[in-house]
Structures are given as C-alpha cells and as structure tokens.
C-alpha cells in the first residue's frame, strides 16, 4: 500500500496512530493528580512536537543521508515563519496560502544558500551555512526591522490590510488563523472521569501535515535518490567516477530539507502568528542538529523522537518548581522531603538545561545510534531471549 514495503508501512501506521491518539497518549495522568505536571497533551506542546518533528525529518534528509551538517537550517524555519505571517498580514488568515508561500520562499532561499555553501564540504560547509544563518539572524534582528519587526517579532495587528480577509473582527479583535473558516484555535475537551483530553483543530492540521511529510521522507529514503544521497555520504570519489555529479543531488537534498524547514516555520506561524528573529539564531539551528542526532541520524523515526524529547524537557521540566516538588513529596518525613527536593531542584525548573545536558551526554555515550538504537536494543533483548530459548548456540555464529 502507498508504494511502501511492509516494514515501512507498519512504521507509518504506527506513527499515524500515535499522532492521531496523541491527545490521549500524552495525557496519561488525571488532571488533578500530582503527576499531571508530566502531561504533555495540551495543544500548544503537541503542535510543537509535530512541527519540530517536521523540521527534524527534513533536516535528516540532508544530514542523515548525505552527511552534510548544516548549521544554518533555522534560517529557513525563520524565513518560513516570516512569509506566513506576512501572508496573514497582507492576504487573509487562511493558513493554506501562508503555508504554500512559506515553503516556496524557504525553498528559494535554501537554493540560494545551498548553491553557494555546497561548493565546500565537511566543516567548511558547516561554517558557511552557519555564517549565512547568523547573517540572516543579525539582519532580521536589527537592520531589516521594517520587514521583520526586529527583536519583538513580526505580529499581526488590527491595522493590517488583509485584502482577502478582514483587518479586525466585528468585536474589534484580531482575526484568528483558520483553514477555510475552521479556526486553528478551536478545540473541544473530552472529559472522562478525572481525565480531560483536548482535541484542537490546529494540532490535527499539524499532525496531518506531519504524516504527509513523514510519508514523503520514507519515499525519499527508499528511492534511488535516497540511495544516491547515502552513496555521496559514503564515497564522493566513487560517485564521480560512476558518472554522477554529487552537487545537484546534494543541492536537491538541501532544498528539500530547506522546504521542510520552511513548512515547519509556516506551521509555527499558523498555530501562533508570531515570527521572531531568535528562530533563526545558531542555537536554533543547533537545536535541530541535536534533535536529529539524539533521535538517531539517518533513521526514519529518530528525528521525530529527538524533537519530541527536547521539546518535552523544554516545556515540561522547565515548569516544575520547588513548590511543585514539595507537593509531590508531601507525604515523606520532612528531612527526607527537603533532601529530595534539594537534589531534584537542580534538575527541574531553572535547572532544566542541566537535565538536558546530562541526557545528551548519556544518550550519545551509551546509545551511539541515538534513541532509535535504544529502542532496537530493547527489541533485540526480547528477540534474543526468545531466540536463546529456540537455539542455545545461536549467540556465536561464524560471520558468513
């Protein structure tokens, strides 16, 4: 089905199920319980999971397949956001034209930067992309303020023309992003006992887009093009002497991943119509690199996992404060409670960065293939115990 092999189809179906059921899966704890702090099933965060998932999937097409490590992809994300917001300001609040424009502009922009940067390889390429992105950031932050609204970020206002829509709603507020009238912010709550689940239009739009993006990335991975990209990573010399010019391939991969980034940026703006310059800073580019490696570069699902993990820490761990900690351990005797809180305090709230840093180090040291490898190891553990039962001597077999 869908022209996929069974294994890939299964993966796609699992991912589809997970994203569709995310409001349930991410909200496992009853709303009023102490653990509700760990719930991530609210629209904004779920949207971020899938949007950064798209960003990372796209980045992985370049980095995972060709090995070209771009440190400037946030620039395309930013450009996508700015284009989308400008669409909202000038045209209408419908997200469709905004998304289309952000993909196109990001594609064009990445073509330009890719064309120049791809003249170099390795670290020289990385620094070129970094330099372009930092330039874009610096310009967006100050010099280009008329276009980008600088530090504050580009927002929609009551005075925007919106030639196909309206500048302000009847009651004088700013109209809301929508897709043919269906508002992104619209949501329904489903309350089951102590649990409460939110289903938002915005999230489901993002999820659908992500599924399409993911599907396309599977196709690319399994296509001759994907194989060529891996070949480029493996041996450019052989590539040349086999009659292939690596440059157009890498450029195509660069532009595709730039368009994914633009799409992600556009979606960010659709969910929350603001485009800030920080989105283009090197730290943002670094973040997608980290997401991809953390999840497992070159794997299909890894980048999405990595994106989810980093965003989870950023949004959930940073919000746990001392008071929350105390409320969890209330039942313990006081000295123990205080001791425990004192230790944990370093890792949550203001210390969430510390936790993230430690996780980075642990994952990359012990799971060289990222989170995906962790999953595989667990899988293999199961298989091995099963196999060991079948055949005791299976462990050491000759190589061939």
């Amino acid at each position: 089905m869908f022209g996929l092999e069974k294994k890939d189809l299964n993966l796609l179906i699992i991912v589809a199920l997970l994203t569709m059921l995310a409001p349930f899966i991410l909200n496992p704890f009853p709303t009023d319980s102490a653990l509700a702090q760990f719930n991530a099933g609210y629209p904004d965060l779920m949207q971020r999971f899938v949007i950064y998932g798209i960003f990372a999937i796209g980045f992985n097409i370049l980095f995972g397949l060709t090995g070209y490590l771009s440190f400037g992809h946030a620039a395309f994300l930013g450009v996508g956001s700015y284009s989308a917001v400008w669409m909202f300001k000038l045209l209408s609040m419908n997200v469709l034209p905004a998304l289309v424009l952000s993909v196109i502009i990001a594609g064009a922009f990445s073509w330009l930067i890719g064309f120049i940067s791809l003249r170099r390889t390795g670290i020289y390429f990385s620094i070129l992309t970094l330099a372009f992105a930092q330039m874009s950031f610096a310009l967006a932050y100050s010099v280009l303020t008329p276009i980008t609204n600088g530090e504050t970020g580009l927002q929609i206002t009551l005075d925007d023309p919106r030639i196909l829509g309206m500048s302000a709603t009847a009651d004088g507020s700013i109209p809301v992003t929508n897709i043919f009238g269906l508002e992104m912010r619209a949501a329904t709550d489903l309350v089951i006992g102590p649990w409460s689940f939110t289903f938002s239009v915005g999230y489901y739009l993002c999820a659908l887009v992500m599924l399409v993006a993911f599907y396309l990335s599977i196709r690319i991975f399994r296509s001759p093009f994907g194989m060529m990209l891996r070949a480029i990573k493996s041996n450019q010399t052989r590539m040349n002497y086999t009659g292939l010019n690596p440059k157009p391939y890498t450029l195509a991969a660069f532009v595709i991943s730039g368009m994914y980034a633009g799409l992600a940026g556009g979606l960010l703006a659709c969910m929350d119509p603001l485009a800030g310059a920080e989105r283009m800073q090197w730290t943002a580019s670094g973040e997608v690199v980290l997401m991809t490696i953390l999840g497992g570069a070159g794997t299909l699902i890894g980048p999405v996992l990595g994106a989810g993990m980093i965003k989870y820490f950023e949004n959930i761990f940073s919000k746990i404060n001392e008071a929350t900690l105390h409320s969890w351990f209330d039942v313990l005797p006081d000295p123990m409670e205080n001791g425990l809180v004192w230790v944990l305090e370093h890792f949550v709230g203001a210390g969430w960065h510390l936790t993230l840093g430690v996780i980075f180090m642990l994952v990359v040291t012990f799971l060289p293939g990222g989170l995906v490898e962790g999953g595989q190891r667990i899988g293999r553990l199961f298989n091995r115990t099963k196999a060991a039962k079948d055949d005791e001597s299976a462990a050491t077999k000759p190589a061939e």
């Binding site: 022209g3 996929l4 092999e5 196709r219 690319i220 399994r222 296509s223 001759p224 093009f225 994907g226 194989m227 060529m228 891996r230 070949a231 990573k233 493996s234 041996n235 010399t237 052989r238 590539m239 040349n240 002497y241 086999t242 009659g243 292939l244 010019n245 157009p248 391939y249 195509a252 595709i256 061939e400």
Partner: protein
C-alpha cells in the same frame, strides 16, 4: 585510429616529471595492458584519462571526442569506467546497493533524480544487479556492508560495479592485486568472456604477469614517464630492456 588516442601527454608534479610525451593508441575491442616499474606513471596516466588529473600538455581523445576539461562524471557518461588501485566503493552501503548505483547512473544520466519511486520497484535493474553479483560469485554477500568485506572482495565488487555499466572503455588499475589465485582466474575468465561477448575495450595496469599475458592483446611498457616499448605480449616477454627494467630474472607467466 583507436578508440582511445593519447597524444603527447605530459604531467609534472613539482620538480618531478611523472609523464613526458606519452603517446598511446588503444584499438577498439582489444585489451591493452600498461606495465612498468613502480612509480613509472601508470596510475597517473589513467588519472589523466578519467579527469582526476589534467595533463600539462597533450590531448586525450576518446571515441573522437576530447576528454580534457571534462569532469570525471562527464567522462564516465561518455563510456569510460575505472577500477582504482585502492578500492573505491560505497563502504556504508550494502553490496547490492553498490551495484544499483552504477545502473541508475547509466539509465538516468548524471542529473535525473527519482525521489519518489522505490528502489525495489525497479525490477529490471534489480535483476541485472543480482545477475552480475552471480557472475562475480558474490551473490551470497549481497546484504553485506561493503566496508566490512575482506579486501579481495572489495576489489571484485568494484570491478563488478564498473562492468555492470557496460562501458565502452574499461580502465583497470591492478584489478587482481591481493586477490586469491582462484578469484584471479575467475576474473580473467570473466574479463575474457565480456571482451568476447560485448563491444568493450579494456586498458589494464597489472603487475601480475599471469593476468597480463592471459588477457592483453597489446602491451605498453612505461618507465619513468615515457613508453619504453609497445608490442604484442609474446615479444614483450623476451624483450631485454623490459626484462631489465621491469620483469627481473624470475619473471614467469
């Protein structure tokens, strides 16, 4: 007029004259061997043919067209494939995938990309790749990670990758070095068979005289960047100059 015409090619590296005024003509559908002492400039000459190096002077014509100034992938698309002295393969890919890439390169040219179809759906190419792996006795290794093969296997793989492109001119730089005797013999058979069944010209550099004398129609002996003699194998074998400069006393076929 041969399919490959090398005229007055010279190449310097700093103070070293690696090639000086080399003239070489390879006739279509023959196997031309280039032998010579180490450092004679044999690999350098091949590098000039495939665009890895640009000669300082001289011209290289292939099939009536100049190859100079073209990039390696263009030269390959003209129909020249090359096996390197140290195997150049796609180490991170499986053996099977290594075979598919040259096939795609031939079918699609240097620029057409297929990003949406799956590799598996290219039934015809897949079966050709599998067939070629059969031919070189590597069918059982097709899922292997190419980098983790022994070196003899890497060489065979690289040659298979070149052969599957059905090039008009095949350049082989020591294809059987480090190959087990049995496989060397297989390779000789394979090359012979291909030479007989297809329209292909082969230029081979080899130190294994057994291979050279089994395959070559003509032999050029290169020494210190210039052709010493060019002749049919029988006469080269007994040539005193060649014996002294290259074969040594123990030479045996």
């Amino acid at each position: 007029m041969g399919i490959l015409e090398v005229k007055d090619v010279s190449k310097r590296f700093g103070g070293l004259k690696a090639l000086s005024d080399v003239n070489l003509s390879v006739a279509q559908n023959t196997c031309h061997a280039i032998i010579g002492p180490n450092g004679a400039g044999k690999s350098t000459l091949l590098n000039c043919l495939v665009g890895k190096l640009i000669p300082d002077t001289g011209s290289v014509m292939f099939d009536g067209q100049s190859v100079l100034g073209r990039s390696p992938h263009e030269i390959n698309q003209m129909g020249i494939s090359r096996v390197f002295q140290t195997p150049e393969i796609f180490g991170d890919l499986s053996v099977f995938e290594n075979m598919m890439i040259p096939l795609f390169a031939r079918r699609d040219g240097a620029y057409r990309m297929h990003a949406y179809e799956s590799v598996a759906s290219e039934k015809e190419l897949v079966s050709r790749a599998l067939q070629m792996l059969e031919d070189v006795n590597m069918a059982d290794k097709r899922h292997m990670h190419a980098a983790s093969m022994s070196r003899g296997d890497k060489r065979r793989l690289e040659m298979a990758m070149c052969l599957i492109q059905e090039p008009k001119l095949l350049l082989l730089d020591e294809p059987t070095a480090g190959m087990a005797r049995a496989d060397t013999n297989n390779t000789i058979d394979l090359l012979r068979q291909i030479k007989d069944s297809r329209d292909i010209t082969i230029a081979i550099i080899e130190h294994d005289m057994h291979v050279v004398f089994s395959l070559a129609d003509r032999i050029t002996v290169l020494a210190q960047g210039t052709p010493l003699v060019e002749d049919v194998p029988e006469r080269i074998k007994g040539h005193p100059k060649v014996k002294e400069a290259y074969l040594g006393e123990t030479a045996h076929a």
